[in-house]
């Protein structure tokens, strides 16, 4: 576990809708359980991170404690720019001009990647405990990165910027960010995916690009929402026999024994859900196999959570599972 939590910056990345934010929340909990003071950051988004960690409001640029040991921030490029100008140029008032107009849009268009650099710059500040006006000294920073397509652009921004900006402070700072990202003792990326065709294909491409284009170290991949097997081998065999013979109603007798009345419709439901799970699971297993074949690092499997809306207890459970699997590596 110490090795797993060794880098201070953990970047959680993946395609939209694969449960990146949930994974980021779980990693933050794990780090906090091991005595780290954690800052979990989302990027320019009012996402569900705060809710998943039991917080009540949206995240802001100011860190707020969500659950013991875990603080949350929302990094908006505009605010990161204002902070940058304040720290770098002692410009408090004029910075409002920068943040209140299309300004960031213009500059970001003129120098693509600037927004990303501002966000990564904030992470750098947090790592260096230099965030203006705060007295936080975080041990671990978990970054819920932008969705995959944009993510490579996001992480390669510091390298790309050197093309647009040849001299000056920004250039120097971009170089610091490249160092930060490429130092495996400081930064590690965890890709999150679903065991489905498109997300897995995209994960394999992203994984290769991370290594080849960005030179960033990648930790275990998190495969999310994996259906666990429903039945043991002998149960599967028995179930198959009963279903094939059309003698599932024999189960009604078992139910009667404990005072439960099963109608025909109920048997259909039991059969339907069992088959659905089995069909989904075998599709998932096929894609998990492709994922495991395609990446060099271990793949951790997070179970499908049957829940009426994810909340902190579910995230706690996922954190347990990750811890167990990491311990077994």
């Amino acid at each position: 576990m110490d090795e797993f939590l060794a880098p201070r910056i953990l970047i959680v990345a993946g395609k939209g809708g694969v449960g990146k934010t949930t994974a980021a929340a779980a990693l933050a909990l794990i780090a906090a359980r091991h005595g780290r003071k954690v800052c979990v950051a989302e990027v320019d988004r009012k996402g569900s991170l705060a809710r998943l960690l039991g917080g009540r409001t949206h995240l802001t640029y100011e860190p707020a404690e969500l659950t013991p040991g875990v603080w949350g921030v929302n990094i908006a490029p505009e605010e990161a720019l204002a902070e940058y100008l304040e720290v770098q140029y002692k410009m408090k008032r004029i910075s409002r001009v920068f943040t209140s107009t299309h300004f960031v849009d213009y500059v970001a268009t003129a120098a693509p990647g600037l927004k990303d650099i501002l966000v990564l710059g904030k992470v750098w500040y947090l790592e260096k405990n230099r965030a203006a006006g705060t007295r936080h000294d975080f041990d671990t920073i978990v970054l819920d990165a932008p969705a995959a397509g944009h993510m490579l652009q996001f992480l390669s921004a510091p390298m790309g910027l050197s093309d647009a900006v040849r001299v000056g402070p920004i250039r120097r700072q971009a170089e610091w960010l490249v160092e930060m990202l490429q130092d495996e003792s400081r930064t590690r990326v965890h890709l999150v995916t679903l065991p489905e065709e498109m997300p897995v294909t995209e994960t394999l491409e992203t994984d290769a690009a991370l290594r080849e284009r960005i030179g960033i170290s990648a930790g275990p991949v998190l495969a999310n929402a994996v259906y666990q097997p429903l039945l043991s081998k002998s149960e599967t065999k028995l179930f198959g026999e009963l279903a094939d013979d059309g003698s599932l109603d024999e189960l009604c007798g078992e139910a009667n024994e404990v005072g439960l009345r099963l109608e025909h419709d109920d048997l259909e439901a039991l059969l339907g859900y069992a088959r659905f799970r089995d069909a989904r699971r075998s599709i998932q297993q096929k894609h998990l196999k492709a994922l495991k074949r395609g990446v060099a690092q271990p793949v951790l499997e997070l179970p499908f959570v049957f829940s009426a809306g994810l909340a902190l207890p579910d995230v706690e459970l996922l954190a347990d599972v990750i811890e167990q699997q990491v311990a077994a590596l």
């Binding site: 694969v18 189960l251 439901a269 039991l270």
Partner: protein, 380 residues
């Protein structure tokens, strides 16, 4: 007769816009709609915004380009589908489309070329948010005006917020026209005209800082770009107006695509409201990836009963596992229903089509056919 809103749309509309959050199956839905149109004898085109390589191969194409490519009907005959009409597919190339727009509105070829060679301009198509949406609408307008197709189905960019897509043309013209921008760039463009420079000390201070941050050449590019763009705003604006009119007209229909997940339902609800406010014609709501429902009422065994079964013989234990599984899936199904109830307040249920989580995988010809059957009823 069962009323199917999708069948109605396909019979009457020339433009079908599939909109919704990312990851809900918009591209696949758009392709299935276009395929169905072709099956019904129309010349149909699907314009996708996503770099959907998987869709291309599902259609038997090596790649999709900015120009329509005809899909060979053999691909579908193999999957048991007779396609009487034609199916064409293309993928938006934002940069190329933008170049064409610049060519059209620039007063001279020289000026167009200067703009296209400008670095700031080159960055716009890849970096500036809203550009892709704007160009998607531009391409759609062009295809429609061209008259080559009976129906054009388009998916929208995976914007985080549906608002982005509806506001894109206005946001982009705002961006080009912002007074603030001119105020900042004015002294820069007139550099050397001493009086002007002095007139705007604040602006020069501002520029000095910007220059320190991004470098002087970046600012030069920016100033040159906006100088060259002078005189083209009216063309942009007029076209944006025409596109807006086309989208509001009765040849167009919006299909909102969602999944039953809370965040995409939230977005779909918001989008339905925005369509309504903006006077854009809503056609149908497609709810993808719905968990199937088996049996009418939950079985709802008591924990005590489950416990006794789990302690019992082999059959009893099997039953316990099956009951637990049913209970777990019911939770998911109920959550999805609750999420969708919010949406029902905005979009009446008779305009809904549900596409359950298919147990087979969707992205191939057979998959498109299966989805098409869910959307339009079984193929006749």
């Amino acid at each position: 007769m069962i009323h199917n809103p999708m069948v109605e749309i396909l019979g009457a509309k020339e433009i079908i816009v599939c909109a919704g959050a990312g990851g809900v199956g918009k591209t696949t839905t758009a392709a299935a709609i276009a395929l169905e149109a072709a099956r019904r004898g129309k010349r149909a085109a699907v314009l996708t915004i996503d770099p959907a390589r998987r869709l291309a191969s599902a259609l038997g194409l090596k790649e999709l380009t900015n120009d329509p490519t005809k899909v060979s009907p053999r691909k579908f005959t193999a999957a048991g589908l007779e396609v009487e009409g034609e199916l064409w597919a293309l993928m938006l190339d934002t940069k190329t489309t933008f170049d064409e727009v610049v060519m059209r509105y620039a007063p001279s070829r020289d000026q167009a070329e200067r703009i296209i060679a400008n670095r700031f301009y080159r960055n716009i198509s890849s970096t500036l948010s809203g550009t892709q949406e704007y160009m998607a609408m531009e391409k759609l307008y062009e295809l429609h005006a061209d008259g080559q197709f009976d129906v054009i189905v388009i998916d929208t960019p995976p914007t985080r917020n549906a608002l982005d897509f509806l506001d894109a043309p206005r946001r982009l013209t705002d961006f080009f026209e912002s007074r603030v921008l001119r105020w900042f760039l004015f002294p820069y463009m007139k550099a050397g005209g001493g009086l002007m420079r002095m007139a705007n000390v604040a602006a020069t201070t501002f520029l000095r800082i910007v220059k320190r941050i991004v470098g002087a050449d970046v600012l030069d590019d920016t100033a040159e770009f906006f100088a060259n763009l002078e005189g083209m705003y009216d063309g942009f604006k007029e076209r944006a107006g025409e596109v807006a009119r086309l989208l509001k007209s009765d040849v167009t229909s919006f299909v909102i695509v969602t999944s039953p997940a809370a965040d995409s339902v939230e977005e779909a609800t918001f989008f339905a409201t925005r369509l309504n406010e903006s006077g854009l014609p809503f056609g149908a709501l497609v709810v993808n990836r719905v968990h199937p429902r088996f049996g009418e009422d939950p079985i709802d065994p008591k924990p005590r009963q489950l416990h006794r079964l789990a302690e019992g013989g082999e059959r009893a234990r099997l039953l316990a596992r099956l009951l637990e599984n049913e209970e777990e899936f019911r939770k998911v199904v109920e959550l999805e229903e609750r999420n969708l109830d919010d949406l029902a307040r905005r979009v009446p249920r008779h305009r809904w089509i549900r596409v359950p989580y298919l147990e087979i995988e969707a992205v191939d010809a057979a998959g498109l056919r299966a989805i098409g059957e869910r959307l339009f009823g079984p193929a006749a």
